[in-house]
């Protein structure tokens, strides 16, 4: 018969941590790229009108920030990916 102590011991073995696959970093990089691309598209649609109308400067500004942040994030994850390959 299995007691609580035994169950906990077995749980530690049964639920061993799982290493993620190597290509997951690449998939994450692509996901961040899509955030960056979406921000760029947002800019294209708004930039002409926004430049003429200061009341509409906020949204493109957010797109610039999102795209820039994602861009740096891509660089960081890319560097991590290269390091993991070395």
């Amino acid at each position: 018969m299995t007691g609580a102590g035994d169950v906990e011991r077995l749980l530690r073995r049964a639920l061993a941590p799982v290493e993620p696959p190597e290509d997951l970093v690449g998939r994450l990089r692509n996901g961040l790229q899509s955030i960056s691309d979406a921000a760029a598209e947002e800019l294209e649609g708004w930039e002409r009108a926004a430049i003429r109308d200061p009341r509409r400067w906020v949204r493109p500004g957010i797109a610039v920030i999102a795209g820039g942040a994602a861009g740096v994030g891509l660089f960081v994850l890319g560097a991590m990916r290269r390091r993991s390959r070395d």
């Binding site: 299995t2 609580a4 073995r13 799982v18 996901g31 942040a69 994030g73």
Partner: protein
Amino acid sequence: MAVGGTRSKAELDAQFAELYRTHLRDVYSYAYYRVGNHHDAEDLTEQTFLQAYRHFERALRESEGRPLRPWLIRIAHNLAANLYRDRSRRPQAPLDERTDVAAPHSTEELVSGRDELVRVLEGVMQLPDDRREALIMRFALEMDNREIARALGRSDGATKVLIHRAIRQLEGIVTRAEGVSA
């Protein structure tokens, strides 16, 4: 460099990279045991970090220095719940038909007591969602009660009771399974 309580993009990205490096295995392990296969676990892990990236600055601000692992796991928890709501099901594939379940374990472990491990894993899958998740967080991620409480949005006391009841229920399931197979 933080200026006037705000963080630069470079600083934020460096912190996010550190969060990612430190907790990728935790999020992936949680996802794997939560959804039961590598394919969905990869999707869930990817979506968790993308969502975390979008809200990272706010999370840092509101965490007031507390660890962000419970926040990450809570994102994964919510995304997994949405996944099953969309598919109107929970993982039900018998563990002995899922050959990839054996992947995290060493050859030695598989040889000695594989039946026991399979019975425990099958038992975990039979638990109610909240009990199953609490056990995954405790035993796969080695989170303490406080972290689990934050991830599940419960009090420390309620979490302690939840884990205790989960282990008791699992004990009953495994004992019954042993009786059937004897």
